[in-house]
Point group: C2
Chain length 443, copies 2
């Protein structure tokens, strides 16, 4: 595919069988430039964009190039439909249902909504599953995801461990979409060694509606759970307004970004791990830095809830924070600060006292996209000096869940700081390419 | 421009001199379809997308069309470079500086950063301004925007009123980017009748860096402040990673979405009001529903800070909220809830008691994009029953600033509810087109 290319550049590149993601070499005068072809973000249709080895992107006018060579096609791994079919016999994919829209079934006589994920009901709803994998379903509980709590995260993590111990190739968690990304993060930190994918799936429109995404999301999750080479927790949901494919997002890098769209879930500061084409029964692995399936599934699911997420805004009274710290004996706090990681400088002394008392204070940005950098401005440096820990490009919500997990395992503030700033399961991405920021329509 | 179109469709459309935004008519078999050409969002390069009168978008394969007709060019109002030049004499644009990166000047001897927006320094920095408008600068104060507070919003609003009373055509507020959108919302509610644009502008990279956006943002703000037909508060910042144009975003619909990119500011649930081409000295007005310049500038700037923004997450202890309500005598609260507007149902009774006690409780979504709808799920209905007010598609931060403003003007809860759900200055957008949601790259 040649995303974003038009006119002259499109013509030349497609003639050379070059696609986005391919390694190419171009010559401009005496200079030879080698790198990966990126999607075009230029209004000028003669410009091609290449990612160099040093991480920089360069835009070149195709008219000034004396030579363009395809060195290697993109090395995307593709799992095709021929490989996707079930062995006979025991369960290969376990579907654990926790509640939410995807598992609700409306009883037409009474109008009541009830969970509907027994093994038989799933097969009845989606007979195609039989052609993909042997499944087994378990109703763990049935709660709306807005009522999800850390104690339920532990129960889900334990059910995942059991499912792999039973010999399944992958596990699906049917979950309400409201707090799905929080649960995904909690599972990712709890299950850092996994024999296969843990796929969280939900639906934005219930299955009694014609535009429901239940079937597509569930079917592609079965494909993913059984066949993907991942040993990590992913969220698998609709990718775009049409029904072409779903996306497997890394569980610690995904966020619900729209209240109602089917493609509400998107990766933030990260690329999705895979595209799943449900109709073609095909998985395209987007990246090669995924965490591989491990020999053993290890469970370590403990959370300390004595934390607080401080969403900073002008006018927020510092007394409220002092109050929370002193009255609720919190052990840690995540700030969703402004810009590169700031609050009003009024807070500096409160944070200094807190960190002196052994309370962890970590900084993220309410911008969501981008990374905190507290060395640029005075306030940032003051906050650093007061002991606030910058948390790179972690989402505020993910940092909070990680903190709950870390606090349940460590008492020493220095060790807590060290683990919070160490990338455990992909929650910190140190390399941002330009195209991680989505594009708004300005027309 | 033919944004997103490639190949066949691009070829045909450009031959017919059709651009995005034009009114076209196509014929498919017996069917005649009339509508506005939208940017292409399709992977299939044969598809063209048309917005019908009823608001729906339809994608059509260009190969199946027997006729394509241009009915009318896009009716975008364009203010051209010929119209953009200064009259001689008194100040036409007032530049009020409040602090932040755009006004900082590094003293190379000492390394200290100091505000640099005297009239002379601005002209020295950007002599081109002289060709556009007569300006006058005022240093109101010099604070980092993370230290901004409601009491400063009042001072800025008063300075804006003075500037229009002095006869200026438009006012520019130089402001740090961290909390710029909060200030923009505060000014929008304080100055609901304006003789001209109030343009908030900042810079993401300071002017001593080669990639600084200071000059472009400031120059285009002068063009906008003097010539735009708006009587509203806008944020004018870099639009894309290249330097082509800036965007004027409605002050109550904009958010800083990236910690460091120059195009960090983007409209959420809304389209930008205008594009400003600084080099060509041209304004393209994007929409016709902007608020027009009024005869008189009216100032009503009061804020009640007894509010709280509750960012909901699983594990948040309801006791913390009860504590804040009882100890800080808050009069109102905005919830950044999950999905369509939810919290754990544990909170229902707390909210019921709060609203009975006359406290306003309003619901927004932490998804940011989309609208709350509390009629879909049980928890939403319970929250509604408990007196929680759904706030449509308002951003949590904007709802909070609006609430501070409303509480300073009203005591009666029913009246407060009514004003909070009434669109005052564009903060509620009842019509969402599909392309308001940005596009993520999935490659």
């Amino acid at each position: 595919m040649l995303e974003g290319y038009r006119g002259k550049a499109y013509e030349i590149l497609s003639k050379l069988n070059i696609e986005v993601g391919d390694l190419i070499e171009v010559r401009k005068g005496d200079m030879v430039i080698k790198g990966i072809l990126l999607p075009s973000y230029s209004k000028d249709e003669k410009i091609i964009v290449i990612k160099l080895d040093n991480g920089y992107n360069v835009g070149l006018s195709i008219e000034n190039l004396s030579e363009i060579k395809l060195l290697a096609k993109a090395s995307k791994k593709i799992i095709t439909s021929e490989e996707i079919s079930p062995k006979k016999g025991k369960s290969e994919v376990k579907i654990i249902s926790t509640g939410g829209t995807i598992v609700s079934k409306v009883e037409y006589e009474t109008g009541a909504v009830r969970p509907a994920l027994t093994t038989e009901e799933i097969i009845q709803f989606l007979p195609e599953i039989n052609e993909i994998a042997n499944i087994e379903a378990e109703i763990l509980f049935s709660i709306l995801s807005e009522n999800m709590k850390p104690e339920y995260w532990v129960k889900i993590a334990e059910a995942v461990k059991r499912a792999f111990d039973e010999g399944n190739n992958g596990v699906i968690i049917a979950h309400g979409t409201d707090t799905m990304s929080y649960t995904a993060a909690a599972l990712a930190f709890s299950l850092q060694s996994l024999q296969g994918p843990v796929v969280l799936v939900g639906s934005q429109r219930s299955s009694d509606r014609p535009s429901s995404d239940s079937a597509i999301n569930l079917l592609s999750s079965v494909i993913l759970a059984k066949y993907a080479p991942f040993g990590e927790v992913v969220v698998n949901m609709h990718a775009e307004s049409s029904d072409t494919y779903t996306l497997a997002h890394r569980g610690v890098k995904v966020r619900k970004m729209h209240s109602s769209r089917r493609d509400a879930f998107q990766s933030i500061n990260d690329k999705p791990l895979a595209k799943i084409f449900w109709k073609e029964r095909k998985i395209i692995i987007n990246r090669d830095d995924y965490i591989k399936r491990k020999e053993e599934t290890k469970l370590d699911s403990k959370f300390d809830e004595r934390v607080f997420l401080l969403y900073y805004y002008p006018g927020l009274k510092s007394e409220i924070l002092e109050f929370i710290i002193s009255n609720f004996k919190i052990r840690g706090m995540i700030i969703a600060g402004t810009g590169l990681g700031h609050t009003s400088s009024e807070y500096v002394e409160i944070f200094r006292k807190a960190t002196k008392d052994g309370i962890f204070v970590g900084m993220t940005t309410q911008c969501l996209f981008g990374r905190v950098n507290m060395n640029v401005y005075t306030t940032g440096r003051q906050l650093l000096d007061a002991g606030v820990t910058p948390l790179e490009d972690m989402l505020p919500e993910v940092a909070l869940v990680k903190l709950m997990w870390v606090l349940a395992h460590e008492d020493d503030l220095e060790k807590i700081k060290q683990i919070m700033t160490t990338n455990l399961v992909g929650e910190i991405n140190m390399r941002h390419s330009l195209d991680l920021f989505p594009r708004w329509s300005h027309e």
